[in-house]
Symmetry: C2
């Protein structure tokens, strides 16, 4: 754990345990922040994501890690939490043609609201979230205009900023990066991507290789010309 | 329970079980909505509030009632969830001079985010929240500008509205009303205020009569010239 006498500013990092949030964690550390990682247990069908988050927290020596239980399952409406089949082998056009069925209602709004609460208690003014506007164009709550609007709302909500304190910022260092650029940046910063998990539909804890998330990830490593250390299930045939 | 063949529009109502949210529930019903009530269990020191919510749901025949567990206690920072003493016998100037210690970080942002998720799943475009800008001027997330900004953020977040559907509205029917006006309106609509609970520091389930919330409530009934049916503890001396 970090030195308690540090005077580095605190940042709350939303950490799913995936490739994007792992890179975001590394970028926040590189920018000089003390890391307060926040994960969510929202009825995912896999717990391997949360294990990845715990490994990343150790690797990057976060000061604290909180995992918040959220009962999104109570509202239904998504393949990630329901029993709908995850789509496989789709090309990019199919992926971007519609809101993905893996969409979780209001997910980033809920996640950022919790980050906001923790930031206020920590007296932190910095939240990092690894949203990406390019690869996931189907998720409306990953768009820059959503983040800008949430930031404005957050600054109106907080006691600290309502009193005229310095404003809260939501950092989205990946928002305009391609997957390959994210992987290149993270590799420069020492991210071990074998610790991260992206697959929507893992088999025995290993990546399926064929869901939207696996396809984008595989192509990212290929385009970045970096060895893909992802642990794929033998059935993926990779 | 309501007739399932109804074609009335659905509204999600944030229902704490207090005087304000009970009145808001009655107003939403009066405006012709089917009621989907949402309450939160966030480590309140009293459960009497949630019992009040359940009684109101029965009285107003809500179609559904969801109670969401939220672990705000994990973040600390408020008298309502921590062991700090609730302030007593304060006059209005003292109440409005500072952010109240009963402030919960980002509370309304979190509550509205959950309401948003449920509204999306229900295909509802209407959320009701009983915030009041006058009596609780110390809560930044009760201000009209916060609600306006959250509404804009919500419409950017949702798949349904991102697709060009009709926009989500957040109704705040009490926002500019005095407590006495809220009580008058609710009484006209048949709210039985003995079912509601406002006290921050109840004694054996009965109102203390002397916390900020009890003081504002008592004065509201007095100014409205309506009998105060609140069940006060004998020690309140009322």
């Amino acid at each position: 754990m970090a030195n308690p006498t540090t005077t580095r500013p605190k940042a709350v990092i939303l950490l799913s345990g995936g490739l994007d949030s792992a890179t975001t964690l590394a970028i926040a550390q590189d920018q000089g922040f003390d890391l307060y990682a926040m994960s969510f247990n929202y009825g995912q069908r896999q717990s391997v994501e949360l294990e990845s988050a715990q490994n990343l927290v150790k690797r990057f020596k976060a000061v604290e890690h909180r995992t918040v239980d959220i009962d999104l399952r109570a509202f239904g409406g998504s393949a990630l939490t329901d029993d709908i089949d995850v789509p496989k082998s789709r090309d990019e056009e199919e992926m971007s043609s519609e809101i993905p069925i893996t969409y979780v209602p209001a997910r980033n709004t809920i996640f950022l609201s919790y980050a906001l609460a923790w930031a206020e208690v920590l007296d932190s003014r910095d939240i990092f979230i690894g949203v990406n506007a390019l690869d996931y164009s189907g998720y409306p709550d990953c768009r820059p205009e959503f983040i800008t609007s949430f930031t404005k709302t957050a600054n109106l909500a907080l006691a600290a900023t309502a009193d005229g304190g310095s404003p809260l910022r939501i950092h989205t260092p990946l928002i305009h990066l391609k997957k390959s650029e994210i992987i290149t940046r993270g590799t420069q910063l020492g991210v071990d991507y074998s610790l991260t998990h992206s697959c929507y539909d893992p088999i025995d804890g290993l990546a399926c290789g064929d869901c939207d998330s696996c396809i984008l990830r595989r192509r990212g490593f290929l385009e970045a010309n970096i060895d893909d250390s992802t642990r794929y299930h033998p059935s993926a045939g990779l």
